[in-house]
């Protein structure tokens, strides 16, 4: 990092913004804080941060609306701070384009790990998908033309839909993917309510990819939300 990454923290709880500002600054980030969605959005426009961390329930403009507005103008990574019991609104935020979430109360390491992962994804050189024919991610080696998949050096046979699903997972490694997002991306908009499709295909994929499908290491379940793909065991 030759230049400090800029992080915008949006939360109406001043004590928490105080902590996050200090905690993130100590790790070499440049931090600004805003007390509600509206102020957050203004700061974003002025300052163009590299990442936004936002609470969901706030006065003036809540986290959902902030996600919606940010997504209409930017692809900046967004991490949501949510509490248990806010699952529905959290999923809504992820569907609106938020990248990840941390559940309150959280340790600073957990947040930092998410921050690093999100920044890394955002800073990765854009893969030129039209010419790229081979995907290399962790334990996975995928030839997009011959549709050959190798995991830990072992050839795997996949059905076309399983293949599509895996490719989507690999292209969005580390990111929380809601049921809704996955269904819309792989099966199309008509299927977004068909959670059971997804469950079946994820089950099949796990059987073929995981060393121990009962405790998966690649396709991780985010309870009530969706899945997160990790290319390394």
């Amino acid at each position: 990092m030759n230049e400090k990454s800029r992080i915008l923290v949006v939360d109406d709880e001043p004590q928490l913004t105080r902590v996050l500002r200090t905690g993130l600054k100590s790790r070499g980030y440049d931090v600004r804080a805003a007390a509600d969605g509206l102020a957050g959005f203004e700061t974003f426009s002025d300052w163009q941060p590299d990442l936004v961390i936002t609470d969901l329930a706030m006065p003036n403009m809540d986290g959902l609306e902030l996600c919606r507005r940010l997504r209409s103008i930017s692809q900046v990574p967004i991490i949501i701070l949510s509490a248990k019991g806010e699952e529905k609104i959290k999923v809504e935020a992820l569907d609106l384009g938020a990248d990840d979430f941390v559940t309150k109360p959280f340790g600073i390491d957990e947040l930092l790990a998410r921050v690093r992962a999100s920044l890394r994804r955002a800073n990765a050189p854009p893969s030129n998908e039209t010419t790229q024919t081979v995907l290399e991610e962790g334990d996975f080696h995928v030839d997009l033309e011959s549709r050959n998949v190798t995991v830990r050096g072992r050839d795997i046979r996949l059905t076309p839909k399983e293949f599509d699903l895996l490719i989507y997972f690999i292209n969005h490694s580390g990111k929380v993917l809601t049921h809704h997002t996955l269904l819309a991306a792989v099966w199309g908009g008509d299927y977004v309510e068909q959670d059971q499709y997804l469950r079946v295909f994820v089950g099949n994929l796990r059987k073929k990819l995981e060393t121990n499908p009962a405790s998966p290491r690649y396709i991780l379940t985010e309870p009530w939300v969706g899945y997160r793909f990790s290319p390394n065991e």
Partner: protein, 403 residues
């Protein structure tokens, strides 16, 4: 339609009625004119029709004709008739009897049907009422469940918020102590940041403790266990105690105190009332801009109570919310759509204040400040002329009910 024994009763009635009329009138047939006899038989037909319906009435008509002919029309004790005129009379009687029987029976049926209809409507109405009652009970239950879960949400939110800050600070400090540095990220915490993290932990622990204290106090008020320790004291003392406690909060504000001279002493739980004043001052500082004026007044009101008020120059409380702000866990800043950047409180202060004031048989309410701006919270305290120590427990229970 009718039960069989009722119809038999009708026929028996017809026979019996006709027999009685015949028996009682026959001995005097020479004195009574046959028109009277005919009308009496008609009366029997009418009664039978009204009580038992058309068929027994038909029987009564036939019997009437026979008896009239046999016992009263000459030649007596035969079914033959001497006078052709009497034939006409007899036919007229029979026709009239039939018509009376039919009509009155029909009228009776109508009346019965109407009655039946009325009863049916009444039954339906009662059933509907029962259904409505059950539905509203279920609705009330659902609402109380919703309220309970809303309260639980509020409480968990208030417990989790400070915990989140504490956990984030402590893990920040821990990481530095453990010297963890992931992905070449340097952990550099200067002493100022370290101090800040510790301050957050300290303050948020206090906040948690305050919140839990409030919960306990509320629970006590609701259970009717608020025990007032009433003693004679002065309003001056109560207000100055509250002000001293609130000093760290009011440094940025201009506080004016105006106490009417020669106020009578009051017999109250000074600690509790001073807590009320403190809560009101705390709210005033929280919801009005820095350096704005906060005025505290105490005066004797017309109805022999002492009225205290705390007034600020903040945004005020909208009229529809002025009752609800006394509900526990209700926060105008969060639930009432008042946009402010100020941290909101626990949502318990005013609920506790109300409990304390009502336990003293006083009232508490909100008005707009002078000139229609800001908030003025007022409450009354009765002047404790009599010893009402025994009553204080009772009044706490009353206050608990109203919460």
């Amino acid at each position: 339609m009718e039960p069989v024994n009722l119809r038999w009763a009708g026929y028996v009635g017809a026979i019996f009625g006709t027999a009685i009329v015949t028996a009682s009138l026959a001995p005097f047939h020479e004195q009574i004119n046959s028109t009277t006899v005919a009308l009496t038989f008609l009366l029997v037909v009418l009664f039978v029709a009204l009580f038992w319906g058309s068929r027994p009435a038909l029987l009564a008509s036939v019997l009437g004709v026979l008896c009239l002919n046999f016992f009263f029309l000459p030649p007596l004790y035969t079914l033959s008739i001497a006078h052709p005129q009497n034939w006409v009379a007899l036919t007229a009687f029979f026709t009239t009897a039939l018509a009376v029987g039919q009509l009155s029976a029909r009228a009776k049926r109508r009346a019965e049907e109407a009655e039946e209809g009325r009863r049916e409507i009444e039954r339906l109405y009662q059933e509907l009422q029962a259904v409505f009652e059950r539905a509203s009970q279920a609705e009330a239950l659902r609402q109380s469940e919703r309220l309970k879960s809303a309260l639980l949400d509020a409480v968990t939110h208030d417990l989790r918020t400070p915990l989140t800050s504490i956990k984030a600070s402590i893990t920040t400090l821990l990481d530095e102590v453990r010297g963890r540095s992931q992905e070449e990220q340097l952990v550099t915490l200067d002493s100022e940041s370290r101090l800040e993290m510790m301050e957050v932990i300290d303050e948020e622990s206090d906040r948690l403790n305050r919140f839990i204290g409030g919960l306990i106090e509320l629970a006590r008020i609701e259970a009717g266990e608020l025990r007032l320790r009433r003693r004679w004291g002065t309003v001056d003392e109560i207000i100055s105690t509250a002000l001293a406690r609130a000093e760290p909060l009011t440094q940025g504000h201009k506080v004016e105190v105006e106490i009417e001279p020669e106020l009578p002493v009051v017999r109250v739980d000074e600690r509790a009332v001073s807590e009320v004043v403190y809560t009101l001052i705390d709210n005033a500082t929280k919801y009005s801009p820095d350096s704005a004026k906060i005025s505290i007044t105490a005066q004797r009101s017309d109805d022999g109570t002492i009225m205290m008020a705390v007034e600020d120059q903040g945004e005020g409380v909208a009229v529809p919310l002025r009752e609800r702000v006394f509900d526990k866990f209700f926060r105008a800043t969060r639930d009432g759509d008042i946009s402010t950047h100020q941290p909101s409180g626990t949502g318990m202060g005013l609920a506790i204040a109300k409990g304390i004031v009502e336990a003293h048989e006083g009232k508490i309410w909100i008005e707009s400040g002078r000139g229609g701006k800001g908030t003025r919270v007022m409450f009354t305290l009765p002047i404790g002329d009599e010893d009402i120590t025994e009553e204080s427990e009772h009044s706490a229970a009353v206050a608990a009910k109203s919460l």
